[in-house]
Symmetry: C2
Subunit: 422 residues, 2 copies
């Protein structure tokens, strides 16, 4: 495990962190918030947001070479483009400043630079350049293949040879809290000869995580698995909203398009790969052996608990899925090596979704399609209503957190309420 | 036809325009060029580039409300975000300034703001937000379907109901002149049980055009066909580089991914939709009737001649395809209405590829896959060598121009040389 000063479980902050918080001093996730009608880079600690622009302006980043105004930006992209060595230095410095006894503790006027999280507007952290969505959970691929094709041949021949993926839509990636407008599109009903236009009847979530890249690679030059994590800044929770009926009619032969591009929601605080170091774990054995460019050394999977809850309007939440990021067959380093093996270049602020993270048992399936098994096994909500897919007025929340002994590193949540079409 | 002052065929410029030039005063395409290590917005006329930043700085855009420094940018995106009404005003004003007798003619020091095109570096015109690639030529879809599946059922059931498309990779969209590094990837040979890693043996061009959007639409609100052209700033030539062997193994079930994402090349001067007004033409009859959201009025296809030439290193060019943009089944307004029918939002600087534009006869097929019919009918080059696909050292050029009586509006070219992998 890499030794990272900011990760020391013994560190304590002068900022009050409630017990069980997702955001102890060992986390320090990065995001964008709005203050005085201006967007700025901040980090989250406990129930507060720390203004990094204030810290730079007041000389707290002395000794770290930073462009002026790098934290007075609408997105993290420029900061990420400085590369991982620098972004890691900033996280370690912020950790020092948040420790008991640091000069920041006695700076005075703490309200100026440390803001109550509930009082600030938290925004999209990145301007998404490219968004790729992988399909890296074997259980999910098997479930979908079994429902739509043949349980005996659920996986396509290429699945165990490569992290299959496709390009998604960047413009419609939104942050937690932005409502989802139920999408409309072409649907071919079972009994119909021709498609009809209307709102989807099979709106679904997909439980995913996404990683965000920092630095730029050169077009024409693949990234090796051993170098991939240098380009991975951190992770977010990701809900890859899907319309199954639209998907079914449109996706042959060029893949999912409008069934996905209406919205993809992410959690607003990017948890750094550095902060997740203590949670590395072994991945599954990969058989057949993968091609050399996909082979890797060490532990490149991460043990992160995930859950999904549905709250119909005015009622209580029902948890419908508990899964874990470690269930993925393909890890992030393999995904990035595959993405670039053809010379495709990576930029700062790209987003790479894992694909739906379904675990081995039905309670860990990561979409309503799988949970309700294509609508044949509806799920009971707390108010007694049933769900095969997501209804108008439902709020879907994904949460994620990694725990080990006395350490919890959390992601907060990505929450989206579904509204009927305008 | 819309009356646009800058389109008047009688206009003559004080800038010398060689006979047959793609860029008469009636064109005025926009692009980015580098001057004194600084990127700026320019337009092309004849063999010259006109510096719009100079014009703004010297008051020539008086009366048009423009942000300061809008033409001293690395990309056109911010200019495009001002919306089509404003971008059209700028084109009309530039036209006035280029006409014989305008004050600009006698400004003096013409070399400061009017530069020889061959002496300036022309750059990527836009920072591509999202790149969508459609599949809108019926002949192309029939050809591919006939080769890979069944000639009797070459078109998938959805093809005549919607402009099928998929998301492409934005980061690897490059301008004319940037070399293509032959991509590597997974290939499953006919005789093999497992895929192998290596350079593609089936590198191909795809003759396409792409349109670039201006303005932003609201997420959740579809764009109607009658409003779509308000969001279409202009067009470029587009070569959607493809690796057929990689594509064949990877594309089921999520569509083309690494077989395309290594490079997509565009011509550097964006020809405005305004300049193409005189070249509107009828589209094909669409049977079965399309759904209401895809119906349109008026002429929304454009008559633009296209050609592709291959030049093996050190030899002469052989033209392998002559096609026309009007051969598309689905027009741009339908493509944008379909893209947004689910509420997906459009941003300034998105790129939308038409899909390979194949005409009805073999001489108009827009890819080597079709021209050589899957490698069974190689094409003779000028040096006597044969091509089924593109070889290292080959330069592929796409050219496009619209002509009517005494008017020619051209796109220049998109040229790419293929290099072997590093």
């Amino acid at each position: 495990m890499k030794e990272i000063p900011a990760n020391d479980p013994k560190l304590r902050s002068w900022v009050h962190v409630p017990a069980g918080s997702d955001f102890p001093i060992q986390n320090i996730p990065f995001g964008i918030f709005e203050k005085d009608s201006e967007k700025r880079v901040g980090i989250r600690i406990g129930d507060h947001v720390l203004d990094l622009n204030f810290l730079q302006h007041n000389g707290y980043f002395e000794g770290i070479e930073l462009p002026r105004g790098i934290f007075r930006k609408a997105f993290l992209n420029e900061f990420l483009s400085l590369g991982k060595k620098l972004t890691s230095s900033i996280r370690n410095r912020v950790s020092e400043l948040l420790q008991v006894g640091s000069p920041l503790e006695t700076h005075g006027s703490v309200d100026v630079f440390l803001l109550a999280a509930e009082l600030v507007q938290v925004c999209m952290p990145i301007e998404v350049g490219d968004y790729t969505d992988f399909y890296s959970s074997m259980q999910h691929a098997v479930n979908v293949g079994s429902m739509f094709r043949d349980p005996a041949n659920a996986l396509f021949p290429n699945w165990k040879h490569m992290p299959v993926g496709y390009h998604g839509r960047s413009s419609s990636v939104i942050e937690s809290g932005v409502p989802i407008i139920r999408p409309q599109g072409q649907i071919l009903s079972a009994e119909a000869e021709r498609p009809a236009h209307g709102p989807t009847k099979q709106l679904d979530f997909e439980l995913e995580m996404g990683f965000v890249t920092c630095g730029e690679s050169v077009q024409g030059v693949p990234i090796k698995t051993e170098d991939a994590e240098k380009y991975i800044f951190g992770l977010v929770l990701l809900n890859d909203w899907s319309a199954r009926d639209i998907q079914k009619w449109e996706y042959v032969p060029l893949g999912p398009f409008l069934s996905k591009s209406f919205a993809t929601a992410i959690s607003p605080w990017i948890v750094t790969l550095d902060a997740l170091e203590p949670f590395r774990t072994e991945g599954p054995e990969q058989q057949p052996e993968v091609l050399p460019y996909l082979q890797y050394e060490g532990m490149k999977h991460f043990d992160i608990d995930l859950e999904v809850g549905i709250t119909p309007k005015g009622t209580q939440e029902r948890i419908v899925c508990r899964s874990n990021f470690k269930h993925l067959y393909w890890n992030m380093a393999q995904q990035l090596a595959h993405q670039t093996v053809n010379g495709c270049n990576v930029k700062s602020g790209d987003l790479y979704g894992s694909g739906t993270i379904s675990g081995p048992d039905p309670g860990s399936y990561g979409s309503m399609l799988e949970i309700s098994w294509g609508g044949t096994k509806p799920v009971m909500m707390k108010d007694g209503s049933e769900r095969s897919f997501i209804q108008d007025g439902d709020t879907v929340k994904i949460r994620g957190f990694a725990t080990r002994q006395d350490l919890k590193i959390g992601f907060g949540e990505v929450a989206s309420e579904v509204l009927k079409p305008f």
